[in-house]
Symmetry: D2
Subunit: 362 residues, 4 copies
Amino acid sequence: MKNSFGDSISITLFGESHGPAIGAIIDGLSPGIKVDEDFIKKQLSLRRPQGRISTPRSEQDKFSILSGVHNGYTCGTPVCITIENSDVKTKDYASLQCLPRPSHADFTAREKYHGFEFSAGGGHFSGRITASIVAAAAIIIPALNKKGIYIGTHIKRIADIFDRDFSDYSADIDYLSNNYFAVLDKSASQRMNEKIISIANEGDSIGGILETAVCGMPAGVGEPWFDTVEGKISHALFSIPAVKAVEFGAGFLFADMCGCEANDVFIVNDGKIKTKTNNNGGVLGGISSGMPIIFRCAVKPTPTISKLQKTVDMKTLEEADILAPGRHDPCIVHRARIVVDSITALTIADMLAFRYGTDWLA
Amino acid sequence: MKNSFGDSISITLFGESHGPAIGAIIDGLSPGIKVDEDFIKKQLSLRRPQGRISTPRSEQDKFSILSGVHNGYTCGTPVCITIENSDVKTKDYASLQCLPRPSHADFTAREKYHGFEFSAGGGHFSGRITASIVAAAAIIIPALNKKGIYIGTHIKRIADIFDRDFSDYSADIDYLSNNYFAVLDKSASQRMNEKIISIANEGDSIGGILETAVCGMPAGVGEPWFDTVEGKISHALFSIPAVKAVEFGAGFLFADMCGCEANDVFIVNDGKIKTKTNNNGGVLGGISSGMPIIFRCAVKPTPTISKLQKTVDMKTLEEADILAPGRHDPCIVHRARIVVDSITALTIADMLAFRYGTDWLA
Amino acid sequence: MKNSFGDSISITLFGESHGPAIGAIIDGLSPGIKVDEDFIKKQLSLRRPQGRISTPRSEQDKFSILSGVHNGYTCGTPVCITIENSDVKTKDYASLQCLPRPSHADFTAREKYHGFEFSAGGGHFSGRITASIVAAAAIIIPALNKKGIYIGTHIKRIADIFDRDFSDYSADIDYLSNNYFAVLDKSASQRMNEKIISIANEGDSIGGILETAVCGMPAGVGEPWFDTVEGKISHALFSIPAVKAVEFGAGFLFADMCGCEANDVFIVNDGKIKTKTNNNGGVLGGISSGMPIIFRCAVKPTPTISKLQKTVDMKTLEEADILAPGRHDPCIVHRARIVVDSITALTIADMLAFRYGTDWLA
Amino acid sequence: MKNSFGDSISITLFGESHGPAIGAIIDGLSPGIKVDEDFIKKQLSLRRPQGRISTPRSEQDKFSILSGVHNGYTCGTPVCITIENSDVKTKDYASLQCLPRPSHADFTAREKYHGFEFSAGGGHFSGRITASIVAAAAIIIPALNKKGIYIGTHIKRIADIFDRDFSDYSADIDYLSNNYFAVLDKSASQRMNEKIISIANEGDSIGGILETAVCGMPAGVGEPWFDTVEGKISHALFSIPAVKAVEFGAGFLFADMCGCEANDVFIVNDGKIKTKTNNNGGVLGGISSGMPIIFRCAVKPTPTISKLQKTVDMKTLEEADILAPGRHDPCIVHRARIVVDSITALTIADMLAFRYGTDWLA
């Protein structure tokens, strides 16, 4: 089973960017989880393009829950959510069929599917597919919150503009959940917006770094070989096509430290064993320590840009120029953050259900 | 199944650092792979501590193949390899039972296993367990080589000392395979060794960054949601207890680029579609592109050091000092590289067997 | 992942009997399989109730393919098929909510889902769900046929009326594929129909035995521990709620034989090793032998009958009478046969894809 | 992963009949299960050949626990048990290499493994492999017992000699657990023994039917599509090479019943909802009902007999005679029963751990 993720709670995604609908199956949800359609809508709105910093493609993300929910609660059976594709302009892509866009999956899709892929708009590789992840996770997130587990992601960096660090996790996560452009420092937020618009005006694109905190995760979750907390989360994150790097806690900065700096000393706090620092990002030996799980991921610049690029005709093997038609985002970092939140929620919930059983989440 | 990895070719690890033996089951190997015991020994020797840059614990890594190999070839049935633990000094650890070593898994193991863990020497979380990964992969690596697939890892960085980049992959990988301390630039190699010894003399430890190249991987391998090449490899890598960060291609540097710099333009080379640059590290949309797969991982400083550290007694919840007894490595970066090579080989082989069938590897 | 089946080609079912739609995701299909919507319709028609031997509930089984198929061919990405529920009369079931129907899953669903199940019409346990299996398999069956693999199921027995044995597999399977009531002997067919109608008139129900042949299966498919051909097929078959017994080859009759009668002697036929008899039903040691795979399964009488039965109120724990409202089948054996064919096709295809790779089926 | 079984608690078997050792990995056991080595020995003794009704091959089944158990309790990490092969007479099989024994896996192993299989003594397909299942389950069975779950299997039938039905499950299961030849009716037991000896004297073999009861299973365990109680148990049972049929409750007899006879009417018993009859064998809609789980499986006659049989040389394709050398069992039904008990225990424990979490079994 290669296009599903999760053992106890699993998600399977389906759909192509320009097909009739996209969607997800979530299996393994406890019966009795309250499903809040308004919250699903709100979460989808955080992923939807808004303003000049995003693509003009405007999907209403009208979703239907076909199964597994009854009278406002999960039944315990597989939940199928579908989301209509309405604002599709396939002819934008007609000219592209043999010209793979640089850094996009057009070429590798052809290698894998031998030309049978439904490639318009990126097909099954489109960022559009992530809307299903957001909708699916929007059932799980309130249930995790009821258990005291909160997830928040902010834009740590766009170009050379940095957001401040998390300080009060609870307040920061609450703040982020109500802001489309998830930056904690308002001045940084404004400068990042200006930077994106300036890049958009050049017809170019830009990436950035997202940072996520998971608070309230119980200690003792995860498996040493091979289903570590880090392994499971990174496995999920790298499915987001633009994510190219993942680090936990101090991450690559560990290379600058010696052991006596890097080690997180144990202390007692409120009668519980905690660590004074959290360089390990809430995970020791692959197992959650009860400290906040902290990770960052790099989001590469949107591959589709409005500049002429070199490519190769996949049929004739002749070099060619490509000027990508279609509508695209100058930056997807701000839209990706809710996808990161969502995919993290699914992964965490799966690990908890494995540990505590199938009724635990309700 | 949480303590196994792989769908078509899978590995399950067992054993504790101070138990009678550690080992691995590898299932799904094609029948007819030639098994070279000398190569297994050589690979194990690359992981074994040597000289003043490593722990004085000296395991001979005497292994036995209990099943799945007959007359020098794999049978197609599960292969069980066991490796004896001989140089065990459990009493070193007797005093530690309730004092978790900072940044080690002692505390999280207790949270997970409720005190039933066999914790001496790190138990099932010990780096010792990785010897089984090396032995298992040593069956697969020559088979991958016969298919034209080569894997090599070098120490990219120790403290502020950097190795040169890969230049000629084929020659570089060949060079690395015959050197215990896997650094391409001899002068950097010497300075790194000196740095490690100096850190060891202080009773401290140090981490670093490893960089891996996989050459010859066919295009079209991987699945978009969720078994991407990056997702599978990172999932496996994060099982190595000291690995805290993984990046592919340009990785976190993507945050410094705009789209027109980041995009890998397609070109024709030897009648095949290639990319001019390889910022995406050989993976587009989660699928291999046929370019070398390039990734780096951060290895944190060895948690066990010879300095007094603060910790908490897990029974009494009182703060305590800990001066870790036992033997430890001032640096494990150089020993970890063959583990990274090995776990990558297992992951790659699994993805290939899924795509091309169970007989493919022979 | 508990509500999916298959490793290389997997199916996940969703939907409730009285929800808006039911459906299936099929993942792992090779790209380039021709999808024949007329064949899907035909297969669904073989499952649909017809005449006095079936329920009057009349579903048109209008299906939509939401993903994974483009220009009439599979893309290689997950295929989502949905089937509308149109002829739903939920109020028939309103009175039943606390009164579990004997031998149905009402009671066990309550135990499992704690009352959150959407139980009307049997909910997720309804035979209605099997329509999705039939639709999904209708994509795979023509692809298997192109590889020379044919599957056919006939009604071996209803009450004391027996069909003749398979004789010419090829002709028999072809005959069955074009007949709604899948019996090889026309006289037996007529007597079975009369028997069912007579049982229906009494307000009772009846079961029977189905026998299946899979021809053209290559030798060497299956795994000894634990994914045997028998284990995988039986695992799938027992999901059909009415199936309570599965036997391969001589099955329970082996208890009447001694070794020299039971053993299938090897012979050479057309230059290939075959067996003279086929008591082992095409499977030796769990691995396909190249002989036809033969199995039978028992289908219990439809639990819902028009007679007054004893039951217990699940809330009050008081005994109560139940006279099942709603529409039901006096016999589902004839409708189940295409489900058996279909679920067998999915299982076989999965095992073949695992062995020969993900491109094999196209 | 094809040679493992189980999601939350899984078993992987390894070893060949004439290799140095066989064994099992059991992963997912809760930490803190008491491991009773004497009970493991006792269970292995119930599988070991005894007297004239069994093969003269006499293995001591000396086992070692290499990992996952410390101070007499499970650690929560993977348990590896190995069992030495000591009484190996490989030269008995030297003459057989190209002559497949009828009804044995020699031929299908060759088709699957292309001649690389280690076929002596049946290799990885040998009944010998089941000793590892028995040893592994012997860790789990006492833990299930502590939870009030008891499993017992008796020989329902050998030739035309039938054992009595289960009457008092508790007493019967207790009786069976202490008897090597698991028959409830002493007179039937004696006649069965005489029958086996008489068949042995003819150089022939005989099969039979085993019947199993699982008492104390909580209601609400299992999944509708596709991990039903019946599907999981049958999947596991069919791995036992001689098992060719599995039926639950009334099984194939359902074909003789109409609905009003077959349906199990609900009643209240001791304040709990039960059924008056148990034709469904404790499973409704694939989910456990709280009634005893009852199933029967057919064990075919041992394929290896002392009579001359026809076969085909796999190299030359010429017909040949075979007089199987080596030592063999005239009947394995009595030895298989503890394997059925054991594999059932593993399956049940896996389903319970999935439902109630990873700590549940301790």
